[in-house]
Symmetry: D4
Subunit: 146 residues, 8 copies
């Protein structure tokens, strides 16, 4: 049984490649989908498609409309969602993707360091499982196939 896994979270490091590698090592039949991970491309996509916008608010709104369409398509196709939180960045769209997934009854795993226990407590409580490392998240996915 193949499963599609949406990887929500920051796009400043290549943590998704790490997840995919671990899944390959364990021979899990998973397909991973994600937001646009090229950060500049993600920020520019509105202006790139629609032309230069009159200021940052409009530029960001244009980009986010296309990013949201992409996420909506891929999240709806997903069977499981992993949402990674770290100590840097605001990560409100990670919180948004995780909450949307939970509202859509998508089984959801949150990955966050111990330092974020307190500010993420309500979201962690609503998610299915909260872990601290990507290895643990993969262990949870692996458990589905045992």
């Amino acid at each position: 049984m193949n499963l599609i896994v949406y990887l929500a979270g920051q796009i400043h490091s290549d943590w998704r490649a790490e997840v995919e590698e671990k899944a390959v090592e364990k021979k899990l039949p998973l397909t991973f989908v994600a937001p646009q991970t090229n950060h500049d491309r993600s920020d520019d996509i509105g202006d790139t498609v629609l032309g230069e916008q009159p200021g940052n608010l409009y530029r960001d709104d244009a980009a986010s409309s296309i990013n949201n369409l992409r996420t909506q398509v891929l999240l709806q196709k997903s069977d499981v969602v992993i949402a990674l939180f770290g100590e840097q960045y605001k990560q409100w769209n990670t919180a948004m993707d995780a909450s949307t997934a939970i509202s859509l009854n998508k089984p959801t795993i949150i990955v966050r360091p111990k330092s974020l226990i307190h500010p993420l407590k309500e979201l962690s409580n609503k998610a299915n499982v909260t872990v601290e490392t990507l290895d643990q998240a993969i262990d949870v996915l692996n458990y589905i196939y045992e």
Copy 2:
């Protein structure tokens, strides 16, 4: 027509009283509901009800389970949601409440300063309206009754 408005956001200042006052001034038939705004009470509620928990993770999980029950009851009763973001705090449960509201088709207004345009762009794009001040949010509610 009475409407119930859920006020999502931080609980470190008394911004909700300000909203309620403005609504009274404009004689809008609104009932406001909100998370527990006594910060210590909110953090302690798990230990208070369930007894002392073995460490911060468990203490936070216990508290959040009761906070989430409260929010679920009140959010489901609401007709409109206002979610306030500011420059301080992580505010991931504000993002969670706003996203949940949007997923439940609750009309949602985000209030955030200009400085947060970029990190909130995807969530703003999914909300109905994004404004910068509480006065503007009240103006939007007022418009429903014109």
Copy 3:
């Protein structure tokens, strides 16, 4: 049994007052809700609340976000929807409101002149009832109470 009726359609004439009058005459326990019917107010509301926007596209998008919030609140409260089409104007948000109502399982009455039979045929077929005059629409509402 009181019912709430959303009156979708153009805001250039006072047809809603006519509907309300007829309902009062027949002593029907109906509450009518509607979009903003002050046309300038409706077009200006974005700039009024959010400040002047940089061009028509942005001005219209700002206004429509607030108009859509209003409609979402009121349409969700409604038990029945009447959507009036006439020979003037594009009326795409009338079509949008009627389609949204139908998708939400709100019983929907379309009012349109004979001249619009052909272009409205798919929407008419999905609505519950299509009539030609406001009197006929009121007759349908009256029939609920017989």
Copy 4:
């Protein structure tokens, strides 16, 4: 990941072939579905299947019932919807298809010329993305696969 794209809009020109060509050029794994694009066939289908109807209203209602069945089957199978608006024709079933898609949480792209910004503002605001050309719409679909 293959996606099915419903192409809503007028059936008087061959714009759909243009979209499909562009998708082939970019090697996007998309399947396109659409309403009946043979205009006479679309208008006649009621009489063709059910026999001659007693007047235009009945003829149009018969045709639209079969057109609506077709659209309902194909729209429910779709992952994304593109809705094209132009300066000619009433296009109320384009608005109906786009609104239905949005209500069903289908990611939706509207394509419309600048001249239609104002009358389409509420629908544009509810869609995920609004662009001006088919090339831009294809760029948005392409972005899902990057």
Copy 5:
């Protein structure tokens, strides 16, 4: 706790008055709603509102569109549905109303004579409770209040 009860079934006898009387006797806080019970009015309503239709099929379709709107409004307001079947008449819209109620998760009671056990077996199995007399149906409603 007041409950609204939709009484689906034939409109050739005054069985609904009997139900209401029994409810009054037992002082149950129930409001009863029903389809149009004036049979001629029900059959004529399409022509009455829309004008004379060109033949029976069109006359019946026009009438049923208004009857269906009425039923949709009232069924959606209901907390419980009673569907009465008897040995006369086709009663397919009774079956339709009961099935729709079950699909909408409305608790549903079927009343039918022993002679109809076999042809109603699949529908009875999907309903909550099947009884043979109106008294038994009222007993079931009464049980909610004990």
Copy 6:
């Protein structure tokens, strides 16, 4: 695009074979599913699986529980439903299957002779299309693929 079509209706004649043949002739990529068409098997299935039941009511309830499970599995897998009504038999589970399909937003075609226009008028009005012959129903399915 393959579609699954549920064929609701009586199981006393082999009309389903006729439908399948016509679909093969037209090379339509359709898979047909249906209730148990062996009438004795359908009536006996409760006793066969669960052992002899104490009387007809219990025998019929046991059989219908297994028939309903079968229908629920297959109807949920279907993309389109055809419901055939004829002049014989009560056909209340045909009405039940058609109504359930409509409530689940399954595009639905009713086939009935002219003589049943009046008693089926409300159900016909809720279905997408009503025709008089199986050939017409196949024409409608064929139209999806044009």
Copy 7:
């Protein structure tokens, strides 16, 4: 804001009266609803309404159909569910009511002694809050009103 609370659990002791008393003491604006708490009445209701059934299976099925109708009406009206588990009895319909409530997004509190932690662990994990005493459950309800 009045809330309706469904009290799921065994009907062999008068624990519900205790809950209501505590709510009155705290002046909480709560209405409590519950299954039939007269145990004999609950077991006999099928035979009482439908006549004597041919054996225990049929007697139990008849009773449960009426008990389930009652629960469905009252659970759908509820805003919060409390499900009490104790060391005696099988309590599978308590588990059923709690699971149904959770599936319907009703905020749910489980009350169970420490001795049942292990067998109830999956259900506790899906509920919003799990406590050990009725006082704690009331404390959680009280927290909604602070």
Copy 8:
């Protein structure tokens, strides 16, 4: 037509292997999914993934969060659910899985010995079919393919 069948129930005996064998014998195109059937693994999975927990309640909650994620993934993929009850064990998560399946409109078969008729009566009444042996459950699945 392949179907996926979720096998809910205790994990202390190898009854699932028996079901799968019987399905192979009958050449039914079924894929079976199930909870973790290694009992120690199921109980330990929380500590194994997350590290040792501070006491049984926390250990059980951690394990159940991962077990629930697994069940949610697999149950959502299923077309039919079989829930086995026996005389040993509390089996509240069997009741939970069956109730969740019913709430999600998954056709559900309960298998239970005669001795459990009374305590399972409400759940049996809500399930599609209740049988006494695994052979009977397989007979019901087989019937779908006849």
